[in-house]
Subunit: 218 residues, 2 copies
């Protein structure tokens, strides 16, 4: 069966033939911070339906947007990662993210409405380096672990742990997300158990969230 196409001799249309289908750009978003397994993707895309994810990944692989590889032993799990053409789509996801920040609703989301990757995305987009002091934070978000390092006004996000964290936080995605986007007070989440601080203290967490600012506030 021939894939559906706009049938236009137009670069924009050719692009959308490849990445314009439902879910495709969200898959790119989910691969922006590193390789993911099939099931990670499924979890980050509630509602996609496993057959559709499999199809999309196959199409994206054929278009050289993603690549399927095996992690080195002993992990050895098969993961999907962005190929070169896929990495070139990062600016699009970035602009969509900026554009969508204006559309964020004012309500507190349900817990299953906030996948992990958007939190990382929001971090990169909302970070304002000007007044940021150096610090290293280890975030445990659901089952995933990331090290966020701020150095000289620059922020980096790496998967994995670190021995030298100033702050180690266990959090749900929505707690993290709403603290970043709406500067919601950590106290509420510490009380209901959505956030737990293992190393460091609340004041440090508040300092950290202070480094993030909605562009409309500028």
């Amino acid at each position: 069966m021939p894939k559906r196409s706009y049938q236009q001799y137009c670069p924009t249309a050719y692009s959308l033939d490849v990445v314009g289908d439902r879910w495709t750009l969200l898959i790119v978003r989910d691969l922006l911070f590193g390789p993911r397994r099939y099931t990670d993707l499924l979890e980050g895309l509630p509602g996609i339906g496993t057959n559709l994810l499999a199809n999309r990944l196959k199409e994206m692989e054929a278009a050289e947007v993603v690549r399927k590889t095996k992690l080195p032993p002993p992990a050895s799990s098969t993961v999907y990662e962005l190929a070169e053409r896929g990495r070139q789509l990062a600016p699009i996801v970035m602009i969509l993210t900026d554009w969508g920040l204006e559309l964020m609703p004012g309500y507190v989301p349900e817990e299953d409405e906030v996948p992990v990757v958007p939190c990382l995305g929001a971090m990169t987009k909302l970070f304002v380096g000007d007044s940021a002091e150096d610090m290293t934070v280890e975030f445990h978000i659901n089952e995933e672990v990331y090290v966020v390092r701020i150095e000289g006004g620059q922020m980096s996000i790496q998967p994995g742990t670190t021995p030298d964290a100033d702050l180690v936080v266990y959090t749900t995605p929505r707690a993290l997300m709403t603290m970043l986007v709406e500067h919601r007070d950590p106290a509420t989440y510490l009380e209901n158990g959505e956030i737990e601080i293992r190393t460091g203290d609340v004041s440090l967490l508040k300092t950290f969230t202070g480094f993030f600012q909605h562009p409309s506030a500028a």
Copy 2:
């Protein structure tokens, strides 16, 4: 009926809830060079189906991406134009265009595969100002007329005519497009009647097309 949504508390997903549906970004593309009438849009989007275009426009209007206005008398036709939020999507269309240039096939397209707007898009994306000398060209593409002015290495495209054109060309979209993208020789098209020069001569047209270069050639 509630519109289908990704249901994610994520700026990227919110954006795609609005502009991620089939055809939506192509409509934005078609409005990038100025207001268009309903039927112009239909013509630029072969295959869309008039009900779907009407739906999309309604959704985009509700999302304040496009605005519906009336042209001043005596034209008085209703047109659609980009609103502020819509204009902010221009960078996305641009990146998609860059990305899609790599995907352009090597064949000569059918005539009805090339709408007018992609030609204007290709012009803006492929123009290399470095060696460009000043000139003014009036293009009649199908029923539409545009003035392309090159001044001091800068190019502008305006709808309408001009009395001081160095070159006046009547052309089909595909002739123009393939000359820009693949540097196809005008001679072929002059012979088969797809291009007609009313003012100026072929050498000037060749000079003009020389100002455009595929990024991969750089």
